[in-house]
């Protein structure tokens, strides 16, 4: 037991959990695809060929075995675009959720722990942000910063930190009067360390669950923003943009949304399952079977 490293123990627990393993496998698949996309893609995702236009996928009549998921309205290979699209979608999701989680949790913990003026200041800011229509906000960012990956990340982070701040604030207010916080103060632990090292870890299970939910949300929101021309610019593919494009041809060519749709679904389920597994394993307050 003692010589086993933390990582080895983690791996052993993971292998025993079907939920964790499924989530892990799906995430690994998505990440693997994102990293190796240029090698895996059978075609150039930007190449337009008239003959591939609305080419049906394998399971429909008139399919071309070289194009597993068929072609889109501009005659591009959908399978290659799904593979390449993983890069933008997953990168945006990970960066945005990580940023929003860090900023939101720290601000929420500060607001909940200290209360008073700090709390008022932070929470009024959050409410202002909530009351402000998200699309309007995104358009403002586009106007100021110009469209692109970083604008997308900034706009989504600004929209999302509030979720974390509100949850963490509530939990921090609940934890602050507890005796173990007073005990930490009574042995001279500095205040910043109490907030970050004693309060935040107790909120972590809620944050993890929220983060896994938000990853799926971000992938979808990226679609909406890319559709408006705020996000990554064509011809770079992203799952969200592919769904936006396919929406106009839902009756004629439903396979245009199928590939990116399944990709988003699979990634979201994977992250949710893995998040659940993490919470089950690392929250010592839950009884273990």
């Amino acid at each position: 037991m003692d010589i086993e490293s933390g990582l080895a123990r983690f791996w052993r627990t993971l292998r025993r959990s079907p939920k964790g393993m499924t989530g892990f496998a799906l995430i690994a698949l998505a990440l693997g695809i994102a990293i190796a996309a240029p090698l895996l893609a059978p075609h150039d995702p930007s190449r337009q060929v008239i003959a591939w236009r609305f080419l049906p996928p394998l399971w429909e009549d008139g399919a071309d075995p070289a194009h597993v998921l068929g072609g889109d309205d501009l005659g591009r290979d959908i399978f290659s675009r799904v593979l390449l699209g993983a890069r933008v979608s997953i990168a945006v999701a990970i960066v945005v959720v990580a940023l929003a989680m860090t900023i939101g949790s720290v601000l929420g913990a500060i607001a909940g722990y200290f209360g008073g003026m700090l709390d008022t200041l932070i929470m009024r800011l959050a409410e202002f942000q909530l009351a402000f229509p998200f699309l309007l906000l995104a358009l403002m960012f586009m106007a100021v910063l110009g469209p692109g990956f970083y604008t997308l990340v900034t706009a989504l982070t600004v929209a999302l930190w509030v979720n974390f701040a509100r949850v963490v604030r509530g939990e921090a207010m609940k934890i602050r009067p507890l005796e173990y916080i007073e005990a930490a103060r009574s042995i001279g632990v500095p205040t910043w360390r109490i907030v970050l090292g004693h309060v935040l870890p107790n909120v972590f299970p809620s944050i993890v669950v929220l983060a896994t939910l938000d990853v799926a949300l971000v992938i979808i929101a990226e679609a909406a923003l890319s559709f408006l021309g705020l996000g990554v610019q064509p011809p770079t593919p992203s799952w969200g943009m592919m769904i936006s494009d396919g929406r106009d041809f839902l009756y004629e060519a439903p396979w245009m949304v199928l590939g990116p749709g399944v990709a988003i679904l699979g990634t979201s389920i994977g992250i949710n399952l893995f998040g659940d597994f993490l919470r089950d394993t690392y929250d010592p307050r839950l009884e273990r079977p």
Binding site: M1, A183, A184, R185, V189, R193
Partner: protein, 321 residues
């Protein structure tokens, strides 16, 4: 000059409440010498825990210390900067809380919680040395397999074990004073005795002074050199523990001692004190105990009695002889 280790002088703590200001501590003065044990005894809600928290400046807002001095090792705790106070807490002065289940952080291994003390007070000590000292401490407070237990979470330990961890935390850096607020109340009777013995052993070994806050005269009699009896935010009687338990002079102390069951005297009635503790927001005039006191007369209803010396103890009562 060798002053007392801790001296409280006319301490006042108040909590604003809708029904008026709650005067939880209403002019308490105490002295505690190095290495000695002082018991602070009284019913629930008499302000004894508040007084203990006030010593470490742990009163939670909106409550606040409104008057008096808390002199520890020659310095008034109320004058210290937040950083000076932080350095003092855990290092020179520590606290043991009532319920070990809620005193330990549920998501932090117990070893890491003890390690916090070294981390914030002994910055020169490296990780391996901290780990070695934490293991040694756990072994000293009687925890089996300390090498394994440093990584245990609080829920993996029994109540008694948790309180041993809390004691290890409090005594890790050899503080001069430990404020123990009902350290055994949340524990089984059999475990209580073990924990008290542990505290006493450690105290003798390290010369720590203890302020023991308890409602249990049995515990006080066992552990303390001196005792102060608190009622409605004030000290009504204080003296050597044997004097107080054998010859109580304040009617409240007499009632407390009489209401204690004793082994070996089955025929003796347990006589409870009639009535209950007054509302600290609406204290009676004169002596706070007069509505429950059989001896009360006009003077008791109007004039607040001061502590005066009778025999070997100090008593705040007009009638005491």
């Amino acid at each position: 000059m060798t002053g007392a280790l801790l001296e409280l002088d006319d301490l006042h703590v108040e909590y604003p409440a809708r029904r008026g200001t709650v005067r939880a501590v209403n002019g308490v003065s105490l002295r505690l010498e190095r290495g000695m044990t002082l018991g602070l005894v009284g019913e629930s809600g008499c302000g004894k825990s508040t007084a203990g928290q006030a010593i470490l400046q742990l009163i939670q807002p909106p409550g606040r210390i409104t008057g008096g001095r808390i002199v520890f090792e020659g310095r008034d705790m109320r004058d210290l900067s937040p950083e000076a106070l932080r350095r003092l807490r855990g290092d020179r002065i520590a606290m043991i809380f009532q319920d070990p289940t809620s005193t330990l952080n549920p998501v932090m291994p117990v070893g890491a919680q003890i390690a916090e003390l070294f981390r914030w007070h002994r910055s020169g000590v490296d990780g391996a040395e901290i780990r070695r000292r934490v293991v040694a401490l756990l072994a000293r407070v009687g925890i089996d397999e300390p090498e394994r237990r440093v990584r245990s979470y609080p829920h993996e330990l029994s109540g008694g074990m948790r309180q041993r961890v809390v004691i290890a935390c409090a005594l890790a850096l050899d503080p001069a004073l430990v404020v123990a607020d009902e350290p055994t109340t949340a524990l089984d009777v059999t475990v209580q005795a073990q924990i008290l013995e542990l505290v006493r052993d450690l105290q003798t070994e390290r010369g720590t002074a203890v302020l023991l806050i308890s409602h249990d005269l049995g515990v006080i009699g066992e552990m303390c050199d001196r005792v102060a009896v608190m009622y409605a935010g004030v000290i009504v009687e204080s003296g050597a523990v044997d004097d107080i338990l054998e010859r109580p002079r304040h009617p409240y102390t007499i009632g407390l001692v009489a209401s204690r069951p004793r082994i070996g005297q089955p025929d003796q009635d347990i006589r409870p004190i009639p009535g209950s503790v007054p509302d600290l927001a609406k204290l009676p005039t004169g002596c706070a105990f007069h509505p429950r006191c059989a001896l009360a007369d006009e003077a008791c209803r109007n004039v607040t009695p001061a502590l005066r010396t009778i025999g070997a103890q100090a008593v705040a009562c007009h009638k005491a002889v």
